[in-house]
């Protein structure tokens, strides 16, 4: 559209107005994006994981694998039951421990422990793991996720706080099989 000569100034002012609104939008974008990205920024700063007690060692008899529950360190009052996270504690021989995430390394369903056959089985897609957490069969590409742990003054501590997923398990130790595998 051509603008008559006498009205050039108004046309310029409209363009200036558009530019002004563009600048204001850009300024407002910064806080909005930071607001949306705050869960990511927290993860970057490493504020999710912390050392938590799973309780006295006597709860975990030698040679057995037991379910333990901890309250997630990052929780809101309205989280309800969802902040209570279960995990599997294996007392290997009284001295050595392994703490596995409840989540299957395939797609995160809750694995169940079968002491009779010493296997973890997943109800969703059929993943199976040995007692040491290594992959036995099914769709998982790896063994169970394992939390870092330490023993202190008769209690078992694990480093936890974030749901383990196949892509974000770098902070968890990986498991190599105890068994020599025949291919």
């Amino acid at each position: 559209m051509t603008v008559p000569d006498g009205l050039k100034r108004r046309d310029f002012l409209m363009k200036l107005g558009l530019l002004f609104n563009g600048i204001v939008a850009a300024i407002l974008t910064v806080p909005i994006v930071r607001y949306i990205m705050s869960p990511v920024a927290h993860a970057r700063a490493g504020r999710y994981d912390s050392w938590l007690s799973l309780g006295k060692l006597e709860q975990f008899p030698a040679g057995q694998t037991r379910l333990a529950v901890y309250r997630n360190p990052v929780a809101s009052p309205w989280d309800g039951d969802t902040a209570d996270i279960p995990c599997w504690v294996r007392n290997v021989n009284g001295q050595q421990f392994q703490v596995f995430a409840i989540n299957c390394a395939h797609l995160g369903c809750p694995v169940r422990w079968f002491p009779q056959s010493s296997l973890f089985m997943c109800p969703c897609h059929g993943g199976v793991y040995y007692q040491d957490g290594s992959r036995a069969s099914g769709p998982p590409e790896r063994g169970l996720f394992q939390y870092h742990h330490r023993l202190e003054s008769g209690e078992l501590f694990i480093k936890a706080g974030e749901v383990p997923t196949p892509g974000s398990a770098s902070n968890l130790t990986s498991i190599t099989s105890e068994l020599p595998r025949c291919v």
């Binding site: 009052p77 309800g80 969802t82 995160g108 997943c122 769709p139």
Partner: protein
């Protein structure tokens, strides 16, 4: 009547939309399009309106808080008058909406309606399919029960596989480190504000183009779409053989839309609302989470893909599928519209339909999952224990106690993860059975560490009895030769 007319006239003097609306309503459409095949688009719109109304009604009671959502659903189901019925309407409405959108899409492909000049209408339609599925998934999350909780875990696990950005996407999706209050709040915001907003905007654009470009004419074999001539031909067709959409074509849409609403109400009344299943308490691990009907096929695919294929298929598959849908009208924008002349289109739809149907069917009995309680709830069929030795019966006990039954069926009872063992003695020799039990392989865990030699002996003795009457047990041919008395004897023949 006169009063209504006066008020209407008063309003239209100010609104100035009456003439436009009348013109739109009475625009001519080709006579054959006043058909029962052309009612699915409007039916989807009708169901969407039902979803808006029932959704607002549910929001009067529902509490989008991880700690309270499940309780508020129980209140809706049991304490609020007809709360169960409104929940059921919304739930069944969502199932019907996805189904109708899919049927509409199939009709559009079979009738070549995505071809020139309706490419953009089709592409907005693909976006509508995406937001409809987005509504279905986020809605399933708002029914905050065990299935929703672990379904979110599956979503997070899939998202985490995106290279480099995976963990960040998971945090963004969950709104924090775990599935909790923040997760439900953001899915509530998506389901109630963001996605419906998009849906309404896309529906408006979609409808505007349907009206502006005209409804697709009935495809006739031999009537070929060419960009140079199509618009002229279409206008001639509507001029020569057109009827006004209102009232001569719309009555079928009205009847079908009403019928669908009745069908939803009937399903809601007879089958009731969906769930909620157990409390969303992650410490209750005795659960086998399942997605809603329209995601069951994906559940099956995720179980059946080989591990190495999974991440590429999950990340590349959707992109390829979407790209194919978006490019469809550009690659096949001209030519025949009639499905009688387009065998590849028909076969492609059949292939997709049969695949989705097969996967959905498989997810009904999940042959890939161990039956978690088969070892304690499914006894060994008595005919497999009759006239057996003490050792063989001891082996049957090992079979149960070591959860073999969770993966292996006997007489069609038990898991289907591994092969049924009714005739295993016909297929494997004693030595092969021992090797398989101890070392595993072929997707079976190795039991070497979990069975004592005595248990292995008993188990294999039991397995050796598993063969149908009249069929010989498997034999090692080389062993027979090796143990034959005349082996190595010089030939006596001249």
């Amino acid at each position: 009547m006169r009063l209504i007319k006066t008020i209407g006239g008063w309003l239209d003097d100010r609104l100035q939309v009456g003439a436009t609306l009348r013109e739109t309503a009475e625009h001519p459409v080709p006579r054959e399009t006043a058909s029962w095949f052309y009612v699915f688009g409007s039916a989807a719109l009708v169901v969407f309106m039902l979803q808006i109304v029932t959704g607002i009604l549910l929001a009067l009671i529902y509490v989008p808080s991880a700690g309270e959502a499940w309780n508020s659903l129980q209140t809706l189901n049991h304490s609020v008058a007809l709360g169960w019925f409104i929940r059921a309407l919304h739930g069944w409405g969502s199932e019907f909406m996805v189904a109708i959108v899919l049927i509409h899409m199939v009709q559009v492909i079979l009738f070549g309606a995505y071809k020139y000049p309706r490419e953009l209408t089709w592409m907005v339609g693909v976006l509508l399919l995406l937001v409809t599925l987005g509504m279905a998934f986020t809605g399933q999350v708002l029914r905050f029960d065990q299935d929703a909780y672990w379904g979110l875990g599956i979503g997070a696990s899939i998202a985490s596989r995106v290279p480099v950005l995976g963990p960040q996407i998971v945090n963004l999706m969950l709104g924090g480190p775990i599935i909790a209050g923040a997760t439900l709040s953001r899915f509530f915001a998506l389901h109630v504000f963001a996605i419906p907003g998009l849906l309404i905007a896309f529906v408006a654009v979609h409808l505007l183009m349907v009206v502006k470009l005209g409804i697709n004419e009935w495809p006739m074999p031999g009537r070929v779409v060419r960009k140079a001539t199509y618009l002229k031909e279409y206008h001639e067709l509507t001029k020569k053989d057109g009827i006004p959409f209102v009232p001569l074509a719309v009555w079928k849409d009205l009847f079908f839309g009403g019928f669908i609403l009745l069908a939803i109400a009937a399903c809601a009344f007879y089958f009731g609302p969906f769930g909620p299943s157990g409390r969303p308490d992650p410490t209750i691990i005795q659960t086998a989470p399942r997605p809603d009907f329209f995601f069951l096929w994906l559940y099956a695919v995720l179980s059946l893909l080989p591990p190495s294929m999974e991440t590429p298929a999950l990340l590349v598959g959707p992109v390829v599928a979407l790209l194919a849908l978006f490019l469809l009208p550009f690659i096949f924008g001209e030519g025949e519209k009639s499905w009688r002349r387009r065998p590849i289109a028909v076969l492609s739809i059949l292939l997709v339909a049969v695949s989705l149907g097969t996967f959905t069917h498989l997810s009904g009995y999940t042959p890939w999952s161990p039956v978690m309680d088969a070892w304690s709830s499914t006894p060994i069929p008595p005919q497999y224990l009759r006239n057996r030795s003490a050792l063989e019966r001891q082996g049957a006990l090992v079979f149960q106690v070591k959860q073999c039954h969770n993966c292996h069926a006997l007489d069609n009872q038990g898991g289907k993860r591994g092969p049924a063992l009714d005739n295993v003695a016909v297929l494997l020799t004693r030595d092969q059975l021992i090797r398989q039990v101890i070392q595993g392989g072929g997707n079976m865990p190795a039991y070497g560490k979990n069975l004592s030699p005595a248990e292995t002996t008993a188990l294999v003795a039991f397995l050796e009895t598993l063969r149908p009457a009249g069929q010989p047990a498997a034999q090692d041919a080389s062993r027979a030769v090796a143990l034959a008395p005349d082996r190595g004897a010089p030939s006596t023949q001249p």
